[in-house]
Each structure stands twice: as structure tokens, then as C-alpha cells.
């Protein structure tokens, strides 16, 4: 098999994107199309007294106004079905949809949405995670006990799901902490934040007979389809989801939400209907926000610097409804426990309802916050035992063959190499001015094996098509599929076009979520291509009078091994095949197995305690602090990642660089600010500051490439989320060195850093 030279990689969707010819949902127009507007509750918690749409419906140009009365009366969501399409009886956050309007144009639609009469009785707001857990706290869901929950997860009042991870026993942890030479106990508090893709979401729905086609900016077309089927009670073959180009997602466009509202409007209006979010809506209503967290950690050390035990308590904000957040507590527990050798571990972790926007899988959910707490804590441990923080990590971080925090024994992993490489690249240990320091953090993240399918075919002229259920959100993962097919078939990647993001033509894939596209769909494309390779070899064997086993596919031809002159072009073979058994391959291989942990005693296991093909990383970041203002500037960052084999170098570097910048934003400027009324106070790009070109530091990246067993094609693991994990943590550790103490609040805004600086009388900053 020839491996494509990836530095030459040009993405298949690139020409569309640089010329402006590429279409995103907002660019689509259908004949007779109406404009949709949603009417939001605008209040965090209230009992609905009346929703009256008669005035809205009477406005000329309004085609339909829908509420909960107009759609099937059922609760949905994957694990804890706790919500309706439209608010029913109670509203639980400000962005909850109470009505949807379709009208002749945007002005009339907005006028009608505003004309919906909403009478309500205010209810007490649940905003603070600890207050939500207090006995007698107001309930976000009064009927929580009646919900038809799947799986086995402990729940209680405002606790939507609960998980614990334990190594040893709870009593063992208590005893080990009591016996430890040093114990460090701290609390870390992280605010929520936003995915903030540059493309605001859009949905267009059109009915033809009893079938609906929905063009939508989703990262997960099959989830979107399933959501429509569930909420509108339709079979899957009558709902077709098509995603044109997707303008970024970062997890914010995971899950299902507005597709059914717009499909219902289109059906009621007998017209195509289009919804496009404003930037403010993209902040207030997407239903996928990065969760706020409170993390308490207590760690015991032995005098030699080894970690004896860790106890932790984590509250993860769920917001008003449970989307794909059900597994967050266990994931958060793993991140605060960390990639360390600790003999006794117990972490309790709860997903807590509040009257805020629901949380969802934003790029490595719970990980940047959990890692930030764990790694800030790790530097505090090193300081307490009088060790350099890198030496402390060398001593305690897991390596190949070690047992981790739930008893999983890891195969060949590159965490220690990541630590060595990133610190060396950053020049860790050099003398620095006293307003600068280098902070270091380790990160980890699971891979998610799962079902995935693809078809590959070569038509009569030898041109290839990859028909895949995978979703491209910008990472280049889907674009890389043609490289995999080309390498299997001895062809050029540019010989293939990709048909993707259409549930009507392609088999299932999980979507652009969990960094799983290459891991799973890559295997599917390789499997489909292998079938075609066998067919090509059979045809070539006949034509060249050789054994099929001796045929080699390379450079667009099939030749006999050892006799490159005895060859036939793949185009000729395709023409022959087109007259009989056509060249069509289908791939849906058995996913790699999740590792088992003998004797694991985690409560409320959500399947993410044992990590398949875990990814590891180390970031070392050089930061300068202006002590007078508290403004931190990231000067440079060195990143080392073990994501297994790297298949597409350019795209891989792009993932690390983008993830790092998002991480810097989370570290320093990005945080949702809520008012006393439970409503967001900074739903705009001026108030919610993304990192700009001028803020971006030089980023250097190294990949520790270990071909990993039970992983993706050629031993690849996931990558898209991992770079987002340790950046905020590394910045935190640099700031702690300059300030003299950690900033235990995230984001570490200039104001918070400045206050911490003031509280240290003698700011004798250490150098790294």
C-alpha cells in the first residue's frame, strides 16, 4: 500500500470555500420559502399560565404559529428524557422555545413572534450548583422521578445523573489520606463558556408528500434525523437530513434541536421554511454550552513525592435539560483524577440541574475545566513537597504498562514522551524575566470506537466516489477519507469525490463528535476500498494471466509483482467491471473493543471509566503578566500529542493550533456571565471575547506517533478535542508561578488575576 505524501494534501472542499461558491445553510433559497422566528421564554424559571397565539396568527403574511399544542405530546432526550419541543407547563431557562412562527419575511415573522402573548408566574431560580444540591432547594424538574430514564444512573432531585470512580475502596482512600505525609486540599471553580462557531446555525425544511428534507447546520446528521423521528413520530426513511458546508461546530452543533420545529412549521405552512440564528441567539439558545463546574480535590502525598491517595467531589452544571450530558460526571471524574499512578482514588461527581442554558458536548466536554483543576492542583502538590513541577509529573504520571486511576492498565502510550518533548521545545528551566513563566500541564482524552459505514465505488471511467455518513465540520477528517481510499487502491486522492452529510444516501455514522470520524469512518472506508481492491485484482489477474495474489495496485495501475511492465490501468479494469459485476465496496467493520477493568466498582458507570485508545498530551506555555492590569499574554506554546499514527499532517497541526487558541480563550477571556435573574449578560462577541489574530501566539507541535492497537486505521487515535484539554491548565500554572499563588477560578480574567496579585504582599515570582 502506498502512503500519500500528506504535505501535498489539498482539501476537496477547499476550492468551494476560498472562492465563495460553497453553500452553507444560510445561503440556500427555495421557491416559496418562508422565514421562521422562534419566541423564547425570556425568563429563567416560570409556570406557564397562558400562551395565546391568536393575535400573532392574525397578522397578514403569517402562515403558522406553533406551540406545544401543535406537536406530539412527548418528552425526549437520549438518556434522561426531560424536555419537550416547546415549553409545556413550565419554562426552565431563558432560551426555551414557547412558540415558533413562519411568515412571508423576517420582519413579519419577528412581529408575529413578539405578538405571542405569554403569561406566567415566576418560580424561584436555581442558579448556584451548591445551592441546587441543598436539602429543600427548589426543584428544576418537579416531576423528575417520573421520567423514563434509560440505563442505570443514580438520580436525586436536582441531580440529573451521578457517577463515582473508585480505585481501592472509599475507606481505603480515607485511611491513605490519614496516613499521608502531606495533604493538599483545594476548591476550583470554572464558569461555563460557549462553542461560538463563526457560522450561526440554520435550518431549512421542505415537505414533498409525506417526506421531509431538512438542510441543517448540524454536526450529527443521524442524531438530528433521530430527533425529528422521535418528536414528530415519523419513520427514519421519511426524514432526510442534508448538511451543506458546515461553518464550524466545536460541539455546539451536536445533538438535535431545531430541525423538528422547522419541519413542523413547514408542514403546517405547506411551504419550505428557513431559520437562521442571529449571533445573540447563537449565544442564548443553542442548547449546547460548556458546563460550569465546582471541583474539590484533596490529595495525600508521601514524603518522596509519590501520590498516596486522592478524594474528589465534582458538581457539573447540567442546565435546564439533559442533552448528551448524562455521561459528563464520569468523564469529569476521570479528568480531575488525572493520568497519574494513584493507589487509592475516590471521586463523587454529580450532574446538577439549574435554570441556565443546557450543557452539551462542547469540544472535550468537562476536560479543559477538569484538567485545569487537576493540573493546577498538581503544581500545588509539587510545591508542597518541594519538587519541581515537571520532575513531580515525571515521577507520578502513567507510562506504558502502568495502572491508572480506575485500575485500567495501559498498553503502549506516549505520555512521558509528551512531557519530555513539550518541555524541551518550550525551553523549560531557562532564566526568564520576573513577569514571565513557563507553565506545564498534562492532558488525556478517550477515543470513542463505534459503528460507522461507507460505500466506495469506481465508475466506468475509473473515477471514484466515497459515499459516507461522516460529517465534516472543518477538521478535514472527512477530506482525509479519500487519502485512505486512494492508498488502498493505488490511486490518487484527487481521483475521488466525496458524497457526504446526507442521511438519505449514506450509512450511519455518529457524526462530527467525539473526535471519532477517522477512527471509525476511516476504518469503514478502508474496508470498503479493500473489497474493490480484491475485485480489481481478480480482473487484473484474468487480463494479465497471473495469480490475483501477485497483483499490486499502485500509481493508477494494476501490475504483477516484480514485473511493473506487465500492467493494466485501473481505468481499463473499471470499464471492464462496469459491464458486469460493478466495483462497489461497502464498509462497516466491527468496532475496536473497549478495554475491560476487572473488579471496577464505579457507581453509575456511563462507559467512560475504561478508555479505548486514550490520547495523551503535554502543553508547555510561556506567559507574560502585566501586574498593573492583570492582563496575561501567551507568548509561545509548545504542544506534544500522542494521538497514535498521524494520517494527515497538515490537518493534524491545524487541529492542535485551533484547539490551543480555543483553550487560551477559555483560560483568559471566555466565560458566560449570568445576572441575578438567571439570564446571560454577555451574549455578544464584544462582551464574550474570542481570541483574535493579534492575540494568537506562535504554536509549535510535535506528535509522538505510536501505532495504537484497537484503534483507527494504521493505529490512529482521535485528535480534534485533545488539544483543547491542557491549554488552560498550562496557562494557570504559568500564572501561578508569576503571581505566587494559583487563580482558582476559570476563566482567569485580568480582574481575577489582578485581585490575586494584590492579595500577595510579596510577589517574588519564580522562574520556570
Amino acid at each position: 500500500m502506498a502512503i500519500t505524501d500528506t504535505p501535498r494534501f489539498v482539501r476537496a472542499d477547499g476550492p468551494d470555500k476560498v472562492t465563495g461558491s460553497g453553500r452553507y445553510v444560510a445561503d440556500l433559497t427555495l421557491t416559496g420559502m418562508l422565514t421562521a422566528k422562534l419566541r423564547y421564554a425570556g425568563i429563567a424559571h416560570a409556570r406557564i399560565i397562558k400562551i395565546d397565539v391568536s393575535a400573532a396568527k392574525a397578522i397578514p403574511g403569517v402562515f403558522s404559529v406553533l406551540t406545544a399544542d401543535d406537536v406530539p405530546d412527548l418528552r425526549y432526550s437520549p438518556v434522561v428524557p426531560d424536555r419537550h419541543l416547546f415549553a409545556k407547563d413550565t419554562v426552565r431557562f431563558e432560551g426555551e422555545v414557547i412558540a415558533a412562527v413562519a411568515a412571508i419575511n423576517a420582519e413579519v415573522a419577528q412581529q408575529a413572534a413578539d405578538a405571542v402573548v405569554f403569561e406566567y408566574e415566576e418560580l424561584p431560580i436555581v442558579a448556584d450548583l451548591e445551592a441546587a444540591l441543598a436539602p429543600g432547594a427548589p426543584l428544576v424538574h418537579e416531576d423528575w422521578e417520573s421520567y423514563d430514564v434509560t440505563g442505570d444512573t443514580p438520580r436525586d432531585r436536582n441531580v440529573a445523573t451521578f457517577s463515582s470512580i473508585t480505585k481501592g475502596t472509599k475507606e481505603g482512600v480515607d485511611a491513605a489520606l490519614a496516613a499521608a505525609d502531606i495533604v493538599v486540599k483545594q476548591r476550583y471553580v470554572a464558569d461555563g463558556s460557549h462553542a461560538a462557531p463563526i457560522e450561526p446555525r440554520g435550518v431549512v425544511a421542505q415537505w414533498e408528500g409525506n417526506k421531509v428534507t431538512i438542510w441543517t447546520s448540524t454536526q450529527v446528521p443521524f442524531d438530528a434525523r433521530n430527533g425529528v423521528c422521535e418528536t414528530l413520530q415519523m419513520p427514519s426513511n421519511r426524514v432526510r437530513i442534508i448538511v451543506p458546508h458546515l461553518g464550524g461546530g466545536f460541539g455546539g452543533k451536536c445533538g438535535f434541536h431545531f430541525e423538528a420545529h422547522i419541519a413542523a412549521l413547514a408542514k403546517a405552512s405547506k411551504r419550505p421554511v428557513k431559520l437562521v440564528f442571529s449571533r445573540e441567539e447563537e449565544f442564548l439558545a443553542p442548547d449546547r454550552r460548556r458546563e460550569s463546574m465546582i471541583i474539590d480535590l484533596e490529595t495525600g502525598l508521601n514524603a518522596d513525592g509519590t501520590i498516596a491517595a486522592r478524594r474528589g467531589w465534582v458538581a457539573v452544571e447540567n442546565g435546564a435539560y439533559t442533552a448528551d450530558s448524562a455521561f459528563f460526571p464520569q468523564l469529569a471524574a476521570m479528568h480531575v483524577a488525572g493520568p497519574y499512578k494513584i493507589p487509592f482514588v475516590h471521586i463523587d461527581s454529580s450532574l446538577v440541574y439549574t435554570n441556565h442554558q443546557p450543557s452539551g458536548s462542547v469540544r472535550a466536554p468537562t476536560a479543559p475545566q477538569g484538567c485545569w483543576a487537576c493540573e493546577t492542583h498538581t503544581d500545588e502538590l509539587a510545591k508542597a513537597v518541594g519538587m519541581d513541577s515537571v520532575a513531580f509529573r515525571k515521577l507520578n504520571a502513567i507510562d506504558t504498562g502502568d495502572e491508572g486511576v480506575v485500575g485500567q492498565v495501559y498498553g503502549e502510550i506516549g505520555l512521558q514522551q509528551c512531557l519530555d518533548t513539550a518541555t524541551e521545545m518550550a525551553g523549560y528551566g531557562q532564566d526568564l524575566p520576573d513577569d514571565e513563566a513557563i507553565g506545564v500541564a498534562l492532558g488525556w482524552w478517550p477515543s470513542f470506537p463505534g459503528a460507522s459505514g461507507a460505500f466506495v465505488r469506481l465508475d466506468a471511467d475509473g473515477a471514484g466516489q466515497i459515499v459516507t455518513g461522516a460529517q465534516e465540520c472543518g477538521t478535514g477528517a472527512v477530506m482525509t477519507l479519500r487519502q485512505l481510499a486512494a492508498d488502498e487502491l493505488g490511486m490518487d486522492p484527487e481521483d475521488f469525490e466525496i458524497i457526504y452529510q446526507d442521511t438519505g444516501v449514506a450509512p450511519y455514522d455518529t457524526g462530527a463528535t467525539g473526535s471519532q470520524t477517522l477512527l471509525n469512518n476511516g476504518r469503514a472506508v478502508v474496508a470498503a476500498s479493500e473489497q474493490i481492491a480484491e475485485q480489481l485484482k481478480d480482473h487484473a489477474a484474468n487480463m494479465l494471466e497471473a495469480a490475483a495474489g501477485d497483483i499490486v495496485l499502485a500509481n493508477g495501475t494494476a501490475h504483477v509483482a516484480g514485473s511493473p511492465d506487465k500492467s493494466v490501468s485501473i481505468a481499463e479494469l473499471a470499464e471492464v467491471a462496469a459491464g458486469g459485476q460493478m466495483l462497489i465496496g461497502k464498509g462497516s467493520p466491527v468496532p475496536p473493543e473497549y478495554p475491560e477493568i476487572p473488579g471496577m466498582n464505579c457507581v453509575g458507570d456511563q462507559g467512560v471509566a475504561a478508555w479505548a485508545a486514550p490520547q495523551f498530551s503535554c502543553h508547555a506555555v510561556r506567559v507574560r503578566l502585566d501586574r498593573d492590569t492583570g492582563v496575561a499574554r501567551v507568548l509561545a506554546i509548545a504542544c506534544a500529542h500522542d494521538s497514535g499514527t498521524i494520517i494527515n499532517e497538515i490537518a493534524a497541526h491545524g487541529q492542535v493550533e485551533g484547539g490551543v487558541l480555543m483553550g487560551i480563550g477559555q483560560a483568559l477571556t471566555e466565560g458566560t456571565v449570568y445576572g441575578e435573574d438567571g439570564r446571560q449578560q454577555n451574549p455578544a462577541l464584544l462582551e464574550y471575547k474570542l481570541q483574535t489574530f493579534a492575540d494568537a501566539p506562535p504554536i509549535s507541535t510535535a506528535f509522538i506517533q505510536i501505532a495504537t492497537a484497537e484503534a483507527g486505521p494504521r493505529g490512529a487515535k482521535g485528535l480534534a478535542e485533545a488539544p483543547n484539554v491542557p491549554t488552560a491548565a498550562a496557562i494557570s500554572n504559568a500564572l501561578a508561578k508569576i503571581v505566587g499563588q494559583p487563580i482558582r477560578q476559570l476563566p482567569m480574567t485580568a480582574e481575577r488575576v489582578w485581585e490575586a496579585t494584590l492579595s500577595i504582599a510579596d510577589d517574588s515570582g519564580e522562574t520556570a
Binding site: I198, L685, L690
Partner: protein
């Protein structure tokens, strides 16, 4: 309703639109060129950047009527037939494109920058493009692409 002739990418478009309409909306709807994107409608993201007589403008916050009598250049007007402009070619070649939603505005800002400063330093590129938000790339590969395109254009 206001009647106007808009010169977009060298072609004259007779347009009738409400005088309050912004240039972005008229370009995307009446003119029919959707390469210019709307990311915020508030001059914060730069996705709607076009050139007016060569100057970069956030078209979301500029009235269409004000553009009358001036040359509007959008992303669709940059390539010469099938030949990509060096900025477009380098963005592709060096991985400066991921989701692509910020790309048209980013390229238009870069075009304006290189037109007024053919040899920008790295710092000048960073500052010149700081009005264009990208959430995907970390800006590193865009920086490289603009730098190499500048060399190629010279």
C-alpha cells in the same frame, strides 16, 4: 424603495431595495452572491468583509445605497477565471481553510492589506487581520498563507 446601480466585481446590477438595507443583505439576496457571510451583523467577526474602491468594509454595517457609484469587490471577484488569486491558492495549499466560514472575509481583508502594504511583517499581518475572527485554525496557517501570497504577488 430605492433604485440604485451597484458595481459588483466589475458588473453593473440595477437593484431596487429599501433604503435601509445593508450592503451584505443586498449582495446576498438581490445580487445573488452568497460568498460574503453573516457571522454577527455587528462588525465584530469580519465574515462579511468586502472591498469598496479597494478599502475593506464590514458590509453588515454599510448601507447598500452608500455603495452606489463605488466599486464593490467580493470573494467571487477575486479569482481570474479558473486561476485562483495567490491568497486563495496559498490558503488552500498551506491549510489556512478549515470550516471555511470566515475564509471569504479573511481573504478580502488580506487582499486589502497586501494592496496597501505588499511586504507586511508578521506583526503587520496579525494586526491587519485582527478584525476577522476564526474559531478553527488558531490563525497560524492563515498567517503563513498570507505571508507566502505576499511573496508570490511581489
Amino acid at each position: 424603495m430605492h433604485h440604485m446601480n451597484l458595481d459588483v466585481n466589475g458588473m453593473s446590477y440595477p437593484i431596487t431595495a429599501d433604503a435601509s438595507r445593508n450592503l451584505l443583505s443586498v449582495l446576498r439576496n438581490e445580487v445573488g452572491l452568497t460568498g460574503t457571510k453573516e457571522g454577527c451583523d455587528d462588525c465584530e467577526c469580519g465574515a462579511c468583509m468586502v472591498l469598496l474602491d479597494g478599502q475593506p468594509v464590514n458590509s453588515c454595517s454599510y448601507l447598500a445605497a452608500q455603495a452606489e457609484g463605488r466599486a464593490v469587490t467580493t470573494i467571487e471577484g477575486l479569482a481570474d477565471g479558473d486561476d485562483l488569486h495567490p491568497l486563495q491558492a496559498k490558503m488552500l495549499e498551506l491549510g489556512g481553510v478549515q470550516c471555511g466560514f470566515c475564509t471569504p472575509g479573511m481573504i478580502m481583508s488580506a487582499k486589502a492589506l497586501l494592496d496597501r502594504n505588499p511586504e507586511p511583517s508578521e506583526e503587520e499581518i496579525r494586526i491587519g487581520l485582527s478584525g476577522n475572527l476564526c474559531r478553527c485554525t488558531g490563525y497560524a496557517k492563515i498567517l503563513a498563507a498570507v505571508g507566502e501570497a505576499a511573496v508570490e504577488i511581489r
